[in-house]
Amino acid sequence: MALAAEAFMTQLAAAEPWPENAALYQQLKDEQILLSDNASSLAVQAFLQMCNLPVRVVCRANAEYMSPSGKVPFIHVGNQVVSELGPIVQFVKAKGHSLSDGLDEVQKAEMKAYMELVNNMLLTAELYLQWCDDVTVEEITHLRYGSPYPWPLNRILSYQKQWEIRRKMKAIGWAGKSLEQVLEDVDQCCQALSQRLGTQPYFFNKQCKGLTFQYRRLVPKIRPTELDALVFGHLFTILTTQLTSDELSEKVKNYSNLIAFCRRIEQQYFEGHDKDSSSSATSRSAKRSLLR
């Protein structure tokens, strides 16, 4: 579909209010979903929670093939289907909900820069670990990725995916990196995030504008932005996922303010919000115990 037509559809959707039956699709939580997809999905869930928009999490084995961009998560709202955090933020903004309206131009530029840092370093490192690190590929990725499918297909699909990701890594110059170098990059990224966050509750503090919005929704004065949602999605997933070794989560655990940040968002936006997605509540409580 042409981009112009897509933009037009988005405009059409803007007038409609957020429906009660909005759904977010991702792969099966317990046996299939991989680290990077789980992080992206959690980031979108956190973003929608912060916007106070209810969404039901639906787990489907073929979620990847249902998505318009071939990437999870995607949301189904009214008669619209939108995938990935960036477009979802745009879509939600068209409906009149935005977390970054109170920021000035420089802060907006900074927020976008940090979001690219997370995508460029954390997401790529997660993909590297799960598709290029031989131990992880053998012990976790192939088993989980192909789990819903019968024998020859599970192997074929996961090798196909692995080949695709490795080509991408080669194109961006990550193919020659060793696991140590990748972990060092993760450390550098976490250090930058930690220094940027400092002692603040969220990444951007000055949100005095957007008073009408505040008045209408009675939200607290200091509000998170989509950057907070993205960082939370990735760091929380890294901290709570069992891998072949805990080298990756150790890198994050070195930064106490980032851990406190994850805990803060989890308590504020995920505890007591699990009524409509009871299936994920159990796994989440398991995760919580891991975090402590």
Partner: protein, 312 residues
Amino acid sequence: MAAPMELSCWGGGWGLPSVHPESLTVMAYAKFSGAPLTVNAINNCWRAPKGEVPILISEDTVISQPAKILNFLRKQKYNADYELSAKQGADTLAYIALLEEKLLPALLHTFWVEAENYCSVTKPWFASRIPFPLSLYLPGKMSREALNRILLTRGGPPLYSLTEVEAQIYRDAKECLNLLSKRLGTSQFFFGNRPSTLDAFVFGFLAPLYKVCFPRVQLQEHLKQLPNLCRFCDDILSCYFRLAVSGHSPAGQDTVDANLQKLTQLVNKESNLIEKMDDNLRKSPQHPPRKLTTLKLAAGGEESSPLNRLSP
């Protein structure tokens, strides 16, 4: 004293010390940090491992990739980021990620994929700097790699055709330029009055876009509408690269165009001629004042020395 460092990178043109973004980034950082690099414009990719340019050679260590070279320079105590706070250091990393994700695809596209630009500017320029048999092969390889990178990182559903991907990467790049312009505002550099790593990266990415004359210039047109970014590039070019030409470091050798060199040679020849004529004139009387001649010669020698420095 640290070992001499030699940087091999693509040469310059259009008033730039190098037309290659990565090479330019390293050269700018070296200027900002005062690292004494000897710059070699390469015409031979055999030396570079896997064709990666720029490379830094210091004694027996060979380093490629701008980020690694910058790290090496920092370890050698050539640090342009001394005055930055930890938070500014974090911002630097974030903005470099922004440049790589949003601006680099469109930059690669403008240079290597856009057919008209590639055939009439990029390919002839690089081919003329690579020795013969390789000149037929390498530019095509670099073009294929650029296209490959764009398609693998930005392609895929729902963007199936190249034109759709192009529209998306140019939209991203323009947004990135706007963000940089807003971030820079009216200040001279990104963090106050002294240039740092981030300035080197932004300059490296923007200056080729700004200066190289392409037939297709949609990104350049957008950049020229952002006066503070243009001023930023011009300032760095005039303060850090023109001055260097007349200084003792030959790093900016490529900005000295052939004309200036010819002029220098002409002036030198002329002064030699004048000296000879002077000598002949002085020799013509019966008692040549020998002392005066030597004085004259010495003066002539001193006069030509600053000019000689110009020619690398």
